[in-house]
């Protein structure tokens, strides 16, 4: 590491923040860009499991709320791709890499949305897990990313409300509806436990070393369990992990080791819905190409 890189590292480690035009080490820029791009891809792909339910939403109010959530998430993708663009990679190229399967997106968006119960669990628990990761980015050493995260976290908080409302309505309904929620929690538990990634020691995690993230993977998972397992239990729902319990002395949760092989398999493009959803993106991009061509030539 050169003296300039060492100085930069010390600057970010002492809480310093970096702007787009500031000098930054190549490694920092590359890691930042890859991470933020994956975040953008996840926002964009994350609307697809929910989109499938817009036409099947049980009431008009739910349909509108779900549509608004989808709009929020696509808006987040736009904001995040803007940050990636300022780091040197155009949005078109991000989209190319996404639909060709070269770039990654979050594990939870590779799974099917079987029932309306899944829609509730996604908005409640998947968004809760996501907001924990995103809050840990509010102090990101790259200031433009930290700034947009404020708006994103604010909007995500509406999604959790929406999700809780869907879940509570179902739980106050019939036995069949409660069963729907329980099945969804059972289906999503594995992917949720994998969501924050495998544990990496703090001094070996480059994302922490460069202060891109301010929280380790395992810490995020503990925070998720601490915040949400009691909320799941209080509704009379169960979590499909017999080993799950909180050690009251240490305050740490014990759980069955998540299936890291499944996580790796899924995020490298082999999830149950990966191909179908990428196809949808591919087709949408091709079918709307003429609209962009007309609009852009009109604008130019």
């Amino acid at each position: 590491m050169t003296e300039q890189e060492q100085g930069f590292l010390e600057y970010v480690q002492s809480g310093g923040q970096v702007e787009t035009d500031d000098w930054m080490p190549d490694e920092y820029r590359a890691r930042l860009r890859k991470f933020i791009e994956m975040h953008g891809n996840s926002e964009l792909m994350g609307v697809l499991p929910e989109r499938e339910w817009i036409l099947r939403a049980p009431t008009l109010q739910r349909k509108l709320a779900l549509t608004a959530k989808v709009q929020d998430e696509v808006g987040h993708a736009q904001l995040i791709y803007r940050v990636v663009e300022d780091l040197g990679k155009p949005r078109e190229q991000c989209l190319d890499d996404l639909i060709s399967g070269k770039a990654k997106f979050h594990n939870v968006f590779h799974y099917p949305t079987k029932t309306w119960g899944d829609v509730g669990v996604i908005a409640w628990l998947v968004d809760a897990a996501a907001i924990i990761s995103q809050k840990a980015l509010l102090k990101c050493s790259y200031a433009p990313y930290a700034r947009i995260m404020k708006k994103i976290c604010w909007e995500e908080s509406f999604h959790i409300l929406h999700g809780r409302d869907v879940i509570l309505t179902l739980m106050n309904g019939t036995d069949d509806q409660r069963e729907l929620v329980q099945e969804a929690v059972t289906r999503w538990w594995g992917p949720l436990m994998q969501f924050h990634g495998n544990p990496i020691p703090a001094d070996e995690d480059p994302m922490l070393v460069w202060r891109i993230k301010s929280q380790g993977n395992d810490e995020a998972r503990q925070q998720f369990l601490d915040g949400y397992v009691p909320q799941i239990w209080e509704l009379g729902l169960t979590v499909p992990d017999p080993a799950l319990r909180k050690d009251e002395e240490t305050g740490r949760w014990h759980y069955t080791e998540p299936d890291w092989d499944e996580l790796m398999h899924v995020v490298t493009g082999h999830g149950p819905k990966t191909e179908e959803r990428l196809d949808l993106r591919r087709n949408a991009r091709e079918n709307s190409a003429w609209v962009r061509a007309v609009v852009l030539s009109d604008a130019a």
Binding site: G75, Q78, L79, R82, D86, R91, E155, A299
Partner: protein, 95 residues
């Protein structure tokens, strides 16, 4: 084209930078800005500015040490202490 968006949260407040958007022209820029920064009633007004129109200045050299422009140019505390002692009005702990 990239546009920088500034938003005012409440009437009377200063506009603050909200973020940037990419749009093919001003008409689209206005609509994207509305959707990104105004659809939840979080802004009373927006300024949408082409990024190329924003000029940044970040070098504030002060070769002449013109400290009379700054708070640290006025060491009143020490001088007041001296003046009070001269007048015999210094508070007991200073005597």
């Amino acid at each position: 084209m990239i546009y920088e968006v500034f938003r005012q949260e409440r009437k009377g407040q200063a506009f603050q930078h909200a973020g940037s958007i990419e749009a093919p022209d001003e008409r689209f820029a206005d609509w994207y800005a509305r959707e990104q920064y105004g659809r939840r009633g979080e802004s009373t007004a927006l300024w949408v500015v082409p990024r190329s129109a924003v000029r940044e200045i970040d070098d504030f050299v002060d070769e002449l040490n013109r400290n009379y422009h700054r708070v640290d140019g006025y060491p009143l505390k020490e001088k007041l202490k001296e003046a009070r002692e001269r007048a015999g009005t210094a508070p007991p702990r200073d005597r």
